[in-house]
Point group: C2
Chain length 336, copies 2
DNA sequence: CTGTTAGCGCATTCAG
DNA sequence: CTGAATGCGCTAACAG
């Protein structure tokens, strides 16, 4: 049996209140008593029971984090950010993974509430209307992160996808590219941030008097994917495309690999850029030029914001924008 | 104020014991009472307070996970495994990151104990004698994971590094390679698993009547690294090395990149293999041949083992070995 | 400065 | 089948 505050009090020959006082440094205690208590604590290897403490103080010092999949690189970066600032304020993290199951998302929110977390950060990749409603109705502080969907009325933090696309397209144009294709994918609804990226890309193209060329790469069947890719390859060979702006780094790398298999070199034969700057982007060869999404900061800022709200300092704007910028690496060739 | 069991009891017109009974399904309750209680629970949106419950049952249903850095790919894979089996048994995960600070490791063990976790899984990359002692003295169930150091008396799970090295070296030999270099690094002490890998490599080489060639790549200064690498490059050019067995995938990829910059192609000019099969190994081009370390399973098995011990089913062996095998991909050329 | 008391929200005897 | 009472380990008045 592990020692309790009572055992300490008995051994020290004082009341449990006194013990509590020295533990929490909450009220003055005579040096003499303090010494005795400390000695007893040491001898008994006493460690306060946080559960009991939480029950009375109503502070668990825990924030719940619900993620899509902790195994995904960017997710773990975000969690790293959360963890690090949480730690600064003495908060621990209770982690749950949903693997894209929307029922699990709502279920875990409730579970975490039962565990008395003081706030929740959700990293999702799906559009879950039910969850959003529930969150709004909830009195518990929370931050909702979603790279893919447009979040309207929920507290969140992200970059401006539109500005990111603008900066990247500008970069390509500045490097002398005129035939720039934007590779998108089948969007399942009108809430996808893809809309913003396309908007940014199109604006720049049109502003520069260039023709936007938006190509949807379906992720439904491998056949249709190959089909469209072969058309793209033809255009590259015919010099109808000199640069490809892929909607994501994953997509960009997949494309470069395919091109590589076809004997098309990047950036010599065609430039390719991505979006998000995932880990892989800098490790892959050639190193991928991309728009940086500061995942660690997503987590850190979310945690700060949440903790601020928990401490009752009120919350500011719903949506916090972080700076986005182009990371120039090796997959863009300067044209002249 | 969120509803408590008392509120439910009052609204349902029964005692809190009855409410508790229907919540936990612990003892028979008349259909009539049950109905009233359920109704009250629904109306009040009552959710039991797990903290209070834990205090009396002495079961937190939480396991603590202390990691080196959740942002590292393999770590997040392990955590994913832990999370998934934890979930099956209704256990949540309390996460802490140490970033290699040994004091933090012991500190977090204590913190988690205070939070009344029922067991702890530690993913470390350093040798921390103090922690090991503390863990052994502790009555709390735990599993200690460390990819780099030899764990002797602590419950752990891993592959046999020696067998892995044997299998890989065999593979290289089978592919017709005779001049195989093993790339190691400066080991800080004799407890590194690197010893096992070298042992396995050497045994196979000697068994095949081949000369072991062990090269230490220092990670101290970039200059000395470059220095040794240039010697390796010379040997490759002189055909004194046809295959490189790197101690890790990270190292293998770094080497391939360097070779690439020198105009040496893998696997055409030289074969290169790694160890661990990190995510990158299959995404990188050429795809890296490697020895698989089943990170997800490390987590899943650790969690199973821990939960088993928590449930009092006793624990079996200290050390659990998982199968290791060679994943053949594109960086090995068959020689004839 | 210190001890006594109440109570956090709940599960669990123990009578009935 | 049900309710009253006890206590999990601790903090926070409160009175001294």
């Amino acid at each position: 049996m592990t020692a309790t505050i009572k055992d300490v009090a008995k051994m020290a020959g004082v009341s449990i209140s006194t013990v509590s006082r020295v533990i929490n440094d909450s009220k003055p205690v005579s040096p003499e008593s303090r010494r005795k208590v400390l000695k007893a604590i040491d001898e008994l290897q006493y460690e306060p029971n946080e559960i009991a403490r939480s029950l009375v103080t109503k502070k668990s010092n825990i924030i719940g984090v619900i993620v899509n999949d902790i195994g995904k690189s960017y997710v773990s970066q975000v969690v790293r950010g959360i963890e690090e600032v949480g730690r600064m304020y003495n908060y621990d993290i209770l982690l749950s993974s949903t693997y894209g199951d929307s029922e699990a998302e709502t279920k875990y929110v409730k579970l975490l509430q039962q565990k008395q977390v003081e706030g929740i950060i959700i990293i999702s990749e799906i559009h879950n209307a039910e969850l959003m409603e529930y969150l709004e109705a909830m009195r518990l502080p929370f931050v909702y992160l979603n790279r893919f969907y447009i979040i309207e009325k929920l507290p969140t933090v992200s970059i401006s996808n539109k500005k990111g696309a603008i900066k990247m397209t500008n970069h390509l144009v500045e490097q002398g590219h005129k035939k720039i294709a934007y590779i998108s994918f089948d969007k399942d609804n009108g809430r996808n941030v893809e809309l913003y990226k396309i908007e940014g890309y199109s604006e720049v193209m049109e502003g520069a008097g260039l023709n936007p060329m938006i190509i949807n790469l379906p992720n439904t069947s491998p056949e249709s994917y190959i089909d469209i890719m072969s058309k793209i390859i033809d255009k590259i060979k015919n010099n109808e495309i000199t640069a490809i702006f892929a909607h994501s780094d994953e997509s960009a790398i997949k494309i470069i690999n395919l091109l590589y298999d076809e004997g098309i070199k990047v950036p010599e034969d065609v430039s390719v850029v991505g979006f998000s700057d995932i880990d892989m982007a800098s490790i892959y060869r050639p190193r991928l030029t991309s728009v940086k999404e500061p995942f660690y900061d997503y987590g850190a800022v979310s945690a700060r914001r949440l903790l601020k709200e928990i401490s009752g300092e009120g919350t500011d704007e719903e949506k916090i924008y972080l700076p986005e910028y182009v990371i120039e690496r090796e997959t863009v060739k300067k044209l002249d």
